[in-house]
């Protein structure tokens, strides 16, 4: 079992994450965590803070001479502008912004100041998940499993071409300011963002996550909360701004004939059982089927608008406009990176559950014995 907790406020001293269940004997590259943190901070349409503050991961536990020892791994990400904030005298915020947790957090937690909601409900928290997700990603790499993401849509501009993910495609994606694999569509997406910004508006979109190399047999149909699809859906829906999750061609399948959406089964001497197509997105009956796992996260547009919406002053109960707070305009590219992280964490947990093991060596021995067995059936 791999489990984790995160803590930390947007303007507190630091974000903290603890992840446990990673076996001993795994080389942990702290730099790679920082790289993922930086990838999360990129993207056209991000606010100013992202450009100022570059996150760095400090691994404070669980690693000895660069290698895991089976103990919980703790990661600290310091908030660089905390020092500036600390002393500041601030007025209470009392006008909730529509589309944010401002009102619900204020009422649920019985708080006096919306700032106390924003501090934790802010997407800043996803930096901590990106960090532990990066640990999971390094773990998965040892099994030949890779987790990618790219942008499928920003506002009205979609990139619909089927794409087979390779390191080359991934480099294209990484070099695009909106994380789109196609250069001309990248330009259109950027234009779309620019237009929205001019109008004081914001855009959502769709990010796709692709997991390559996952073996047949992760997850289970035997109990609802052992299913890989349910656990992945929870992970992706837990990312701020995500309002829908799709596996494979889930949405178009729902309006198609059965004969068009099911994936015929084949067998090749070398590769073993294979599916001829992958409408199912790599999961059948809650279990991975050996094909690429394809997931789509649908992001609503960011809620902070230049042209403010109606709201209410929580003290006076009078109608007013929601305040405008300088913010991002489009978080889809960053959102995709966060989705990679949460997906990696689920897959890592599923691997850990199926193969056990307290050292990388042990888990890998179990893993390869299983692969060999599957191939021989």
């Amino acid at each position: 079992m791999i489990r984790y907790l995160t803590a930390g406020e947007s303007h507190g001293p630091a974000l903290t994450a603890i992840i446990e269940g990673i076996p001993a004997g795994m080389k942990l590259d702290g730099e790679a965590i920082t790289v993922d943190l930086r990838r999360r901070q990129m993207g056209y349409g991000r606010g100013k803070r992202m450009r100022i503050e570059r996150d760095t991961a400090i691994v404070t536990a669980g690693v000895w001479d660069g290698v895991t020892i089976g103990s919980p791994i703790a990661i600290l990400i310091q908030n660089k502008d905390w020092a500036n904030w600390k002393g500041q005298r601030r007025e209470k915020k009392l006008i909730p912004r529509p589309g944010h947790a401002d009102l619900v957090g204020y009422l649920k937690y019985g708080l006096d100041d919306i700032q106390e909601v924003i501090e934790r409900s802010s997407a800043r928290e996803t930096a901590a998940r990106t960090a532990v997700g990066s640990v999971a990603r390094q773990y998965l790499a040892r099994f030949g499993i890779k987790v990618y993401s790219h942008t499928r849509r920003i506002g009205g501009v979609a990139y619909d071409t089927p794409v087979r993910f390779t390191p080359k495609v991934f480099r294209e994606v990484e070099s695009s300011h909106v994380r789109c694999a196609d250069k001309s569509i990248t330009r259109e997406m950027i234009k779309g963002i620019d237009r929205a910004v001019e109008q004081g508006d914001t855009l959502g979109g769709t990010a796709e996550v692709i997991v390559t190399g996952a073996p047949i047999g992760l997850g289970s149909y035997t109990q609802w909360n052992r299913r890989a699809d349910a656990r992945l859906a929870a992970a992706i829906m837990s990312v701020p701004s995500v309002k829908a999750v799709e596996i494979g061609d889930g949405i178009t399948s729902s309006s198609s004939f059965g004969s068009d959406v099911h994936d015929p089964i084949g067998y090749e001497k070398k590769g073993g059982y294979r599916h001829v197509s992958n409408h199912a997105g790599g999961i059948i009956g809650g279990i991975t089927n050996g094909e690429e796992i394809l997931l789509r996260a649908y992001f609503k547009p960011i809620s902070t608008l230049g042209k403010p919406l109606d709201s209410v002053n929580l003290k006076t109960k009078r109608k007013t406009f929601a305040p405008y707070v300088r913010s991002d305009m489009c978080i889809v590219p960053a959102g995709g990176v966060v989705c990679e992280a949460v997906v990696a964490l689920v897959i890592a947990d599923l691997i850990s559950e199926k193969f056990g093991g307290d050292s990388m060596r042990e888990t890998l021995v179990n893993y390869h014995a299983y692969l060999k067995y599957v191939r021989a059936r």
Copy 2:
């Protein structure tokens, strides 16, 4: 905390479910559970078994003189055709059907006969979840919370009209063979199913779940797995054949401008804080916002086709056609009922977590104290 486990095979003697965390002092109506089981068995396009076998819930624990006593509740649903099956000599099934868990289950669990997969991966298991969901539903009713569902789409036929759920609308839905609130669209959906059946094909579709009466403040943004949206997404994605989950207008939001999709906040002396629209589907930042919770489950078409797909004989490795097994043609109406159940279970768990309580009286006292407090803010 409300948690549950189910057990039982499709052709075993019985399905069993245990749910615990329901407080003492709740009148439990066993008949109402059976009613939900029957609702799950209805729907145009179901196979023959559904017509033969009418499920009945037997409550074997947790209830004394018709009232809960705080102990785990156990429910038994006997499989009526078990007696017929039991003695039967059957050949091993060795040709996996595409779109079913046949192949993945066979490999994962190292089984010799696909029948051993089908027994548990079959949607028969959802009867047990429907039963415990019915218990959760009765619990929620004490808080004025109701969980409805209806069909939004079957294959190419959609019902897109916005609908405000009332008991009257619900009666319409219940009297429709496809659980659609509109009579003429019901007819079209039925025609669509008939056409598919003629072609040996199957249809998927979309079911919508509506939760009315849920208070502001269930779920939390403070940790990823405390979020109401993530937990609901997991529940719905865990229903067999569901391949996508949407909250509110999640999918259309992703291609819209921010100014069009966020719900302005208002205040009325009587009702307190209210949102003027409900694009968010009742959840913001992982927390319920007091509006109706709107969820959509996208079902793929059932995998068992009259015109069979390519598959492989697991013994000989030779290419062959997938066998045709008499089955349902469209499970969207039944799927909606199952989705109600799993959603009710999540909401019940969230209520239990926020309000605690070991007797209905205690939980309700806590609940009403909170509502009063929210109203006074």
Copy 3:
């Protein structure tokens, strides 16, 4: 992960248990479960009910042709005198018995009748745990792990001789009416019980659980709730009437010198690392060390006394005597059998966590690869 839930009241129709996480491909002997249920019902000093009602386990799920299929296993134990109870008109019980959950259950759950407490707080519930424990025991047998128990003390009569558990010793224990390995001490214990019965009194005692064959490396010091010692302590303390748990020579160690209680480490070419003594009871730092796991459960005397204690009428608040209800006089022998069950469940969970696997074949391959590796270090 192996987890389970039980349900069922003492005078309800049945006890139910669901256990999941047992891999596919394990022959499950339903008779053996019934044998364990009967072992739990034995013992000198049991009440009359035990002699009338002989429990039988019915496996209703998770097993196909006598072999597990990876699905949850459900077990039903019918209460044979339920039919008699059902129709009976009974007065409300309003005088709580000291030493029972009567008062606390009545207040916590807001009940009106102590009977509603007794139904679930009764030790009858341990029959369900014995049944799932028996499943766990069959699982462990595949790894060469055995779980025994015997009686170390009843009231003033102790059996202090160190004992190495073998099948032969175990047969002695099983043939003793008090489950003591020594014939003359058995006689003394029985005399002690007889004397207590004459005086309308009851006796407690100590049961010892011995686990043989557990490998080095179950459990972990890395997080408090991953420790084998903590999990075993919880399991044993959860058995009704247990008020203390000891691992190895825990209690005498606490008043000894360090030099007397630690177990020197040796190495033998054949057996690998070994401890020269076993004061630690097989667990060091929360991890099994390859030696026998030794646990002791301290049972208080049963609370239902012939000479009744002071209590209060819950309606009138007037002082009164606690009612006498026909009951057992000494449950230590039965308690030992229940402790075996709960210990087996914990060890099974630890095995499942460390070795993973969805089929017995897979788990055993992983297990033996690990043993080989440990031996080679």
Copy 4:
């Protein structure tokens, strides 16, 4: 639900803990956490490190202007001698010390150097638990619940007098170098430690934890892992060196007559239901009964001895002596403080489960409504 994770190595940069589920609106005194950390470092018979290094808690998340906001609380405890360690060139440790996790950790995790085991298996980790336990303690204080501990035995010297815990007694305990409430026994205990030290030996003992003010009704008999006794036993057994746990008079009860050990029930107009004695240690049927909760932790003597035990060189497999590492001689006084922490965490979790609530105000309203109700029955 209140849950927590800790991370951190003995010679790493820092210990980290995250605790979540503490409601918003609780004043959190960071100084008080540091005070508990220092209390854990006291005690006659501690090693030199304790005297050098004084721990300080830094709260890095979950608190805003000194008050909780419902978010996870993170605590950082820096290891002050990390800087010294960091650069140091060290030889691999290859001789496992009996009584430590050295051998089992080395084999389980497939490590190359025992140091990698010691880093996390060291009792240093309990500082992190003491810190989160201190948070739980502050939470409990709001309900009038206090958690104390004192030393009942060190080696051969016992303090057996029954003691009613009051702030005055507690001050006595805190001023004793061995945390014993009696001055002359304190002197004897110190003498005992001195004698052991002279002989290069170590001593264990017994710490008692007392919880005052806990309401009737925490925990439950309805499922094994909802029982307060089981959860408390797990918590205490998870403290390093603890090898037995006792509730109330658990051990002596096991050799007594039932008529001597059960606590008669009374009723007083003002206080409501009361037990005339408290042999049960405040827990009946897994539920708190409103009396003081009394728990005893039995500590084995520390394993690091001046006169070393036999061990084996893990490389050469040759017999050798276990190395002597400068260490504590008796950790019972510190162990008691750690037990307070883990007990406070369990009680806090039970409170959170029963009373729910997202703000202190809400939880307290629920709590007092329940108390009023119990009093009125």
